[in-house]
Amino acid sequence: MPTSVSLTVNGQATTVDVDDPGQPLLYVLRNDLELRGPRFGCGLGQCGACAVLLDGDVVFSCKTPLSKAAQSKIITSEGLGTLEKPSSVQQAFIDEQAAQCGFCINGMIIQATALLAKTKNPSVAEIKKALTDNLCRCGTHLRIIRAVQRAARNI
């Protein structure tokens, strides 16, 4: 019997009907709400590709049950900016050309956004620490660090 779950995603209130409210938030965001920012990387909370902001905090949506997110404000990469009007963090990543395959970048943008909301001028060490749970396989790390530094300057 499907259960209705109310969510607030990228500022919009919405309701999804699911059989299992215990399922990870990730699949609801990707399939029911057709969002692409949060990505399936491991399903184990080990890589960070699925990161979203939940009331401003970074969570890995592959390990967050839908039911736990119901009362919170969820922000995905789509909610930060658009192609025409990227967020300042997104613009910094574009300016630094900080992607290769780009599959991990959602998590990097989400982490960087959360970091810069709390820490205005992070050091390289602080940036590395903030991104420590996020994996990148292409080896784009240096560009990502430079993008976060650039975003910090521009905010």
Binding site: Q23, R36, R39, C42, T82, L83, I94, A99, C101
Partner: protein, 747 residues
């Protein structure tokens, strides 16, 4: 700005278009529009280019962008050669109905081969447009120029669109069509931003993992507990509680679930009770190198043989010998493999991130026992693959699942354990080296033997086909002329390249033993063979330099005669402020010591040059290695996009440091046991060094590949740095703290 939508994919899947030719325009009497399929023959201009009535150019590329930026680079090449603004050109890639078969996207050939085919097509098209305008104007073509999408005469201008718009060229690629003078380049050679990056950053890009079709079902696979195990029984009663299950699909040992939602497919795959037979056919990991050494040799390939190495070695006053090994590693794509397959009227359409859509088409056709033309493969970019990972296998899974549900579209997304456990692996490689020196440190003889897989380029068998007992691979008709080896398939092997060395010694012999079997399905992982061989060769070269008490950079220069290689190493010395001294440095007895190591490669001894220096820090108590700074000097000839090139080199360096320090799959006698990132760790942000790169641009030289070569020098530069710091040789990748401590203890 490039943002593929589902509509784009649907629009371009037909391949059926109405065409006129350029000649029709010039000679209106023969203009007859006819429905025909898109020309894909790789000797035809129309295979690579079309110009529509608005003057927009589409480049059709069989080489695909694996996240490397070649979509942008190919756009630059075509726009430059056609004298068009950059934004008038778009690229359609990897569609077997629309794009020419240019071979797999591998081996750092996308620019060097694929890009040059596009350049040749564009040059031919430009000449044809000049000729057509000359005829139209009644003036010699030599009086006209191509500029900004038009042909210009003294007092007349005609846009390309008016000459050709919407029609075909119907011309063969002309090797004599004049190419633009690189000194006049305005687009090639510039660091233009990549066209795909804004959509990727703002989550508006369509990866294969995002690709959806109307009515699409979700598939998951259940793999055997052991690689060669048979499915003895299963109990589907546990699935009754999962509402969305459409079907449990079994073909021999291939087992999958089709469900209406992704979560139901995942739950069902987890809940299904199965019993598998025992199988323990893998070698013991602890004795892997004995296994490799004892493997049956198919044949030997001698890649160089100068003088008489055996007798020279016997007569050398000083002799050295060492064995190097490089482990089995996984591609480790951040997003597990994914594909969507639909079958309508016995015609198969497959959307996947395969690096080789034409090869996949042949393989899927073989598996499904259909004519190849009934299979249509369309590339949709995925998570980076760095070689042949699991994308093709996910496509084979999706094909079997779709076939089992009347051809309805099925999306298969592998889970993390599927990717780590079942993507084909880079094979283990073992290298024995021997050398002789005279009393003054001159090298008299060099001998090496490489234990490598038999076939480094043949199609990797499709996993679903293997499990289901279906034909796993089509007989290949592909040209094997790449990788710097002859076209003769008996010796065409990516794993032979860079076994011979760039240095001139009076006596040298380098031999590859091509092995019949390796423990896992073998495939290529960024710089297959060249990375492993360069590790062995450049470390052993460092051993000789140390034995001769010579500076390792000067020692290399002494045996090099290649002027570009010499210039590269001199520039490397300059940017690293290289101080001449033999290794090891007589450092302190502190716990933490530092060193610097050098490495050099001329890729396949015929193209891209890379020199590298690693500055490392070693903790002799813990055995931990930190790479502090990594320098690269890179010469790949003409540079198309310097920022794209930098991005590739940085990626090569960081990914290869990860592989060198950390990566080795773990397995028992039955299967891979390192099934996620905790058991197969990769480099994290905290461990990433500074990377300093100097590019040598040679605009008048041919452009060579850059997707792989810089990775080849990384393991040896680090190992030589550790020797410089500690006087301890590391000859076995990965250089884990335990291995470093053991090497220190043994020294």
């Amino acid at each position: 700005m490039y943002e593929p939508t589902r509509r784009d994919f649907l629009k371009t899947t037909g391949g059926l278009i109405v065409t006129f030719t350029l000649a029709d325009n010039v000679l209106p009497a023969v203009a007859q529009g006819a429905a025909q399929t898109k020309i894909v023959a790789p000797d035809e201009v129309d295979a690579f280019l079309s110009i529509n009535t608005e003057g927009q150019v589409t480049v059709y590329s069989g080489k695909v962008d694996l996240g490397t930026g070649i979509r942008t680079a190919l756009t630059q090449i075509a726009a430059e050669e056609l004298d068009l603004p950059f934004d008038r050109v778009t690229v359609t890639q990897g569609d077997t109905a629309l794009t020419p078969d240019q071979g797999a996207t591998w081996g750092s050939f996308s620019i060097q081969r694929g890009g040059m085919q596009v350049r040749r097509a564009a040059a031919t098209a430009r000449k044809a447009l000049l000729d057509a305008a000359a005829q139209r104007f009644g003036v010699p073509a030599a009086t006209l120029i191509a500029e900004n999408g038009t042909i210009k005469g003294k007092d007349r201008v005609i846009p390309y669109a008016e000459l050709i718009g919407g029609k075909t060229f119907s011309l063969k690629l002309d090797k004599d069509a004049p190419l633009k003078d690189p000194r006049a380049y305005a687009i090639v050679g510039r660091p233009l931003p990549r066209v795909d990056i804004p959509a990727k950053i703002t989550a508006r890009f369509t990866y294969i993992q995002d690709f959806r079709l109307e009515g699409m079902l979700h598939g998951r696979v259940i793999r055997p507990l052991a690689l060669g195990a048979d499915l003895e029984s299963m109990d589907t009663s546990s699935l009754t509680k999962i509402a969305g299950v459409v079907k449990v699909v079994r073909e021999k040992n291939f087992l999958g679930i089709v469900a209406t939602t992704e979560w139901d497919a995942i739950q069902a795959a987890r809940a299904l009770k199965t019993t598998w037979s025992n199988w323990a056919g893998l070698p013991e990991q602890a004795h892997l190198w004995d296994y490799v050494r004892a493997s049956k040799v198919s044949n030997d390939v001698v890649s160089s043989n100068v003088g008489s190495s055996t007798s020279a070695l016997d007569n050398s006053p000083k002799r050295l010998a060492a064995t190097y090994d490089f482990p089995i590693q996984t591609h480790g794509s951040l997003g597990p493999s994914c594909a969507v397959v639909e079958i309508k009227d016995e015609k198969v359409t497959c959307w996947s991130a395969s690096q080789a859509p034409n090869r996949l088409k042949r393989q899927l056709a073989a598996m499904l026992e259909l004519p190849p033309d009934d299979v249509h493969c369309i590339y949709v970019e995925g998570s980076g693959c760095y070689g042949r990972n699991g994308h093709e296998d996910a496509a084979s899974d999706a094909a079997l699942l779709s076939r089992a549900v009347d051809g309805r579209p099925v999306r298969v997304q592998w889970m993390r354990a599927d990717e780590h456990g079942w993507d084909p692996k880079c094979p283990p490689i073992l290298v024995d080296l021997r050398a002789g020196l005279d009393d003054t440190g001159n090298v008299l003889a060099w001998e090496s033997e490489f234990f490598v897989p038999k076939d480094g380029v043949a199609p990797v068998p499709l996993l679903a086909a293997m499990l289901a007992g279906l034909p796993p691979a089509a007989a290949t008709t592909e040209p094997y002329g790449e990788f710097g080896v002859p076209l003769n398939p008996s010796v065409a092997n990516a794993y032979v390249a860079n076994t011979a060395i760039p240095y001139t010694f009076p006596n040298a012999k380098t031999v590859s033993h091509l092995l019949d079997e390796t423990p896992f399905r073998s495939s290529w992982l960024r710089s297959p063979g060249r990375m492993q061989h360069t590790f062995a060769n450049e470390c052993f070269m460092d051993e000789l330099a140390a034995s001769a008490r010579a500076d390792p950079l000067e020692f290399r220069l002494k045996y090099l005669s290649d002027m570009r290689g010499i210039e590269l190493l001199r520039r490397l010395a300059t940017i690293t402020k290289w101080e001449q001294r033999p290794s090891p440095r007589m450092s302190t007895n502190d716990d933490i010591v530092t060193g610097r190591g050098i490495s050099y490669v001329k890729y396949e001894l015929m193209r891209t040059y890379v020199g590298a220096v690693a500055e490392v820090e070693v903790n002799r108590k813990t055995g931990e290695i930190g790479v502090q700074r990594f320098y690269v000097v890179h010469d790949c000839g003409q540079i198309i996009n310097p920022d794209g090139l930098m991005n590739q080199i940085e990626g090569n360096v960081i990914q290869s440091i990860s592989r060198t320090l950390k990566e080795e799959i773990q397995f028992d006698r039955s299967a891979v046991t390192s099934l996620h990132w905790a058991t197969y760790p990769i480099l994290t942000f905290a461990e990433v060094p500074d990377v300093a790169i100097e590019l040598i641009d040679r605009p008048t030289e041919p452009p060579w590949g850059a997707g792989e070569p810089a990775s080849a020098v990384v393991p040896s530069a680090i190992a030589n740095g550790v020797f410089n710091a500690l006087g301890v040789r590391l000859r076995s990748v990965p250089f884990t703290p335990a291995k470093v401590r053991a090497a220190i203890h043994a020294a």
